[in-house]
């Protein structure tokens, strides 16, 4: 019965992530792509995203620290981050990136810095959430259960 409880918790947790806007439908698509030939697809993609994002955030921090900010470069990085986050369905990160980009276009350093903070915050949040999610999945798998597929009605 413990397995069922963990499964339930996973379902609820995943749902809450969607409800709160951390993840969107794209994440579900990723989950759908996972099958026997590709059992760790989601984890791989998400790990890749984490690595990418850490790198990009570092670059952004450095770039915005410069006396003469190269907005094009910053924009490029943000674009990348936006792309990655939208690919895995990290909705909030993506939204924060959108806002960031507009400040870049406006060449607004304070705005950019504020947005960077925001993006980082969202990123760490979603990272935390996804790690928790994966831990739950591991628990289920370790207990011999199967990971439930969640269908959301939208």
């Amino acid at each position: 019965m413990e397995v069922v409880q963990i499964q339930r918790r996973l379902v609820d947790y995943t749902k809450s992530l969607f409800m709160e806007g951390f993840l969107d439908g794209q994440f579900l698509q990723l989950q759908q792509l996972q099958d026997e030939s590709n059992p760790d697809f989601v984890v791989e993609v998400v790990s890749l995203f984490f690595d990418d994002s850490e790198k990009l955030l570092n670059e952004l921090t450095i770039a915005l620290d410069q006396p003469n900010v190269d907005f094009k470069k910053v924009d490029g990085h943000v674009h990348q981050l936006k792309g990655s986050s939208s690919s895995i369905g990290a909705q909030r990160v993506k939204n924060a990136c959108i806002a960031f980009r507009s400040f870049c276009e406006g060449q607004n350093i304070e705005g950019c810095l504020a947005c960077l903070q925001q993006v980082k915050q969202e990123y760490y949040l979603v990272k935390n959430k996804l790690e928790t999610l994966f831990r739950l999945e591991q628990q289920i798998v370790a207990s011999g259960g199967s990971i439930p597929m969640i269908e959301m009605g939208f």
Partner: protein
């Protein structure tokens, strides 16, 4: 003569005196013997004589006296000694008996005398009783008259009849010459002759009310004798007529509200009428006490009867008034019903009639938008579309609102997914919000039930309206939507004091709060927000294009859902918070696990829809590259990945059937690649299908793609089904222009 034992009388027998004595004695004896006989005779006759013994004694005495006198007769002549002896014995006896009788009489005579006094006493008493009987009879007759009068008076509730009857009956009962009633005028300063007994139509005599005689009558509750010469008694215009004794009595005119039984003669209004009664002048009759009493009683009864009559008049009048009002109300109601029916018919017809052309306009304008247009034409078409959308919304709002006004709107209650509603709203609002660069965040409490019973469409409409307003009136910043289940302690909100939600077992109150950092609302405008068609100053200036109905409709919906909606704002420029609570039902506990695992779409038909299809994917972003690859691998394709355009051009060959390239990265000219590819593969059937993956679908991108000869544009992120359908389309038609 010889010596016989005779006794010689003293007197010679031939003396004349002797003769007379002899005769007297004889008669005395006779009388004495007859008296007892008479006595016995009469006593025998009467049965109740109590003194028989006395009679016997008396009889004996008399008989003996008679015997004595009889025997005395023989003593006048020569008589023997025996006679003398008998005579002496008789005398002796007589003496004894008479003495005894005399002694007896001493006892008896006082008794006899007292009998006589008793008889006298009784006679007096009888006379007195007779007198009293007479009196009682008179009184009883008076009472009978009063009863009859009262009956006559009270048998009618008509004021005139009452008064007339009173006068008539009084006149008859008391055999009056004339009886008159003086009523106070409206001003209260005069008495007006209203009714008389014998004059049919009394002429309008009036006397001022403050005459001393009238005051005298009014100040006493009894009948007062007045002089025949005072003005109230002179009602007959003929000079010769002098009435007999005249009395007058006051008749209190009771006001309805003064009818207090305990307080009978003390009245606060002190309005009296005057009743004057005149005895016939030619009889020497005097007013008797009982007649006066009768008059007083009648006066009181008349007062009561008059007040009853007044009450009845009042209530009849009120009833007539009410009936009139009823009729008028009925008419008004029927008119209103007709009006509502007419309006509903009108609305129903107009509903259809208005929507059909609107539909045509909107549909054709949007089709027009798709065709080739010059920029001016496009602008015109867009304006047409926007205006017609606005008009359509306005029509819908007005129709909805008028249906809600007369309460014909009913909620469609069903079980729906609450989370889905919020998600939908979010999805709908996201494009606009992102254009305005607003950050929208949704925060749903974990204890919010997933499913609820309510009107999904209208709830969504409400949330959308509120959120839409928040977006509309914010130039920048963020919008936060939060929803949770209202807790019992917090249900009684001081901000909404009229709202008393009651938590229960099968329902809960959904509390939704939408906070924005927009232009805000000034506190004095807040009450106006929910009124129809009212726009605050700031909104009018901004030309938001709203009809002003949105919030009014929301309020109606929220009220229908037994909830409450209100807006708070600290002022202009400080953003505003819209909060509403609605009551939703909790559905039966369905099998949760079943719900969670219920698939919405049928399971994948099979990942290998495109077995072995060689595909090239070019994307600079590692993550999205991986995702796209995963997508295509899942569909069974053979995927090659490149991360730069040079690499792409290097790797691409005619084995690749489709090339997906990301074109939204700045500094990367995906378009050039396409051009190069066109150059590289001159023959069409050799060239792979080029599809652009992009994050924005604006016209510029699409035009560029078309210009460079791309075969299709797909908007990222791509779903599995989308990819599948895209591939099948592409491979079938070799062209696909837009897949969002």
């Amino acid at each position: 003569m010889d010596s016989c034992n005779c006794i010689e009388p003293h007197w010679p027998p031939d003396d004349l005196l002797m003769k007379y004595q002899y005769i007297s004695d004889f008669f005395i004896a006779l009388a004495y013997f007859s008296i007892p006989l008479e006595l016995i005779y009469f006593v025998k006759k009467s049965a109740v004589f109590p003194y028989r013994w006395v009679l016997v004694q008396f009889g004996a005495f008399i008989v003996l006296c008679g015997a004595t006198h009889l025997i005395n007769l023989w003593t006048f002549t020569l008589h023997s000694r025996t006679v003398a002896m008998v005579m002496t014995t008789a005398k002796l006896f007589t003496a004894v008996v008479s003495c005894v009788t005399a002694l007896m009489l001493v006892h008896i005579i006082p008794d006899l005398l007292s009998v006589k006094t008793r008889e006298l006493f009784l006679k007096n008493k009888a006379a007195e009783l007779d007198r009293e009987m007479g009196l009682i009879r008179t009184q009883e007759e008076t009472g009978r008259h009063v009863r009859m009068l009262t009956h006559e008076i009270r048998s009618t509730l008509d004021r005139h009849t009452i008064l007339k009857t009173t006068l008539v009956e009084l006149g008859r009962t008391l055999a009056l010459e004339e009886c008159a009633l003086w009523m106070p005028t409206r001003t209260g300063l005069e008495l007006h002759l209203s009714y008389t007994l014998h004059q049919q139509n009394p002429v309008g005599y009036t006397v001022p009310i403050h005459l001393p005689v009238i005051n005298q009558v009014f100040s006493s509750s009894h009948v007062v004798k007045i002089s025949p010469n005072c003005p109230v008694a002179r009602i007959n215009s003929s000079v010769k007529y002098i009435p007999g004794e005249v009395v007058a009595v006051r008749v209190p005119l009771l006001h309805l509200s003064n009818f207090q039984i305990n307080d009978w003669p003390e009245l606060s209004t002190k309005r009296y009428a005057l009743m004057v009664l005149m005895l016939p002048s030619d009889s020497a009759r005097q007013w008797h006490f009982h007649e006066l009493e009768l008059v007083e009683v009648v006066a009181d009864q008349v007062a009561v009867a008059l007040s009853h009559a007044a009450i009845l008049e009042e209530s009849m009048r009120a009833r007539d008034l009410l009936m009139e009002q009823n009729v008028a109300l009925d008419l008004a109601r029927r008119e209103a019903e007709t009006a509502i029916r007419a309006r509903n018919d009108f609305l129903a017809v107009m509903n259809h009639e208005m929507r059909t052309p609107m539909h045509a306009i909107i549909a054709l304008s949007s089709l027009l938008q798709e065709t080739e247009l010059t920029p001016e034409q496009r602008l015109m078409v867009e304006t047409i579309l926007k205006s017609s959308n606005l008009l359509s919304t306005l029509i819908n709002d007005v129709l909805d609102l008028s249906r809600m006004e007369d309460g014909s709107l009913q909620l469609d209650l069903e079980t729906f997914n609450l989370y889905a509603v919020f998600k939908e709203v979010l999805n709908l609002i996201k494009p606009i919000a992102s254009v305005k660069k607003l950050h929208v965040s949704l925060n749903l409490a974990p204890d919010l039930p997933e499913y609820a019973i309510g009107d999904e469409k209208r709830l969504m409409q409400t949330i959308l309206n509120v959120v839409g307003n928040a977006v509309k009136f914010s130039k920048d910043g963020s919008i936060s939507i939060s929803a949770f289940v209202a807790k019992a302690e917090l249900l009684r909100d001081s901000r909404a004091p009229e709202f008393f939600p009651v938590p229960g077992d099968n329902h809960f109150y959904l509390h939704v709060q939408v906070k924005d950092s927009g232009i805000g609302v000034s506190p004095q405008d807040i009450p106006k927000l929910f009124t129809k068609f009212a726009q605050t100053q700031s909104t009018a200036i901004r030309n938001s294009g709203g009809s002003g109905l949105g919030l009014a409709i929301c309020k109606r919906f929220v009220n229908l859902m037994e909830g409450h909606i209100w807006i708070e704002s600290e002022g202009l420029g400080k953003g505003c918070t819209a909060i509403f609570m609605v009551k939703l039902g909790i559905p039966e506990r369905l099998n949760e696990s079943k719900l969670a695992f219920m698939p919405k779409v049928p399971p994948n038909l099979g990942p290998t829809a495109f077995p072995g299809l060689k595909v090239l994917v070019m994307d600079e972003n590692g993550v999205s590259r991986k995702v796209t690859k995963g997508l295509l691998v899942h569909l069974g394709c053979d995927v090659t990945m490149v991360s730069s355009s040079e690499e792409c051009l290097r790797v691409v060959s005619n084995e690749h059937k489709v090339v997906f390239m990301d074109v939204c990265a700045p500094g990367m000219d995906g378009y050039e690649i396409a051009i190069h590819m066109h150059e590289k593969f001159t023959r069409r059937h050799e060239r792979p299908i080029i599809v652009a993956l992009t994050g924005n679908t604006d016209k510029v991108t699409k035009e560029n793609c078309m210009r460079v000869g791309m075969d299709g544009v797909i908007l990222k992120p791509v779903s599995l089904d989308k990819m599948r359908s895209v591939l099948s389309d592409l491979l079938e038609h070799r062209v696909l222009f837009e897949a969002i």
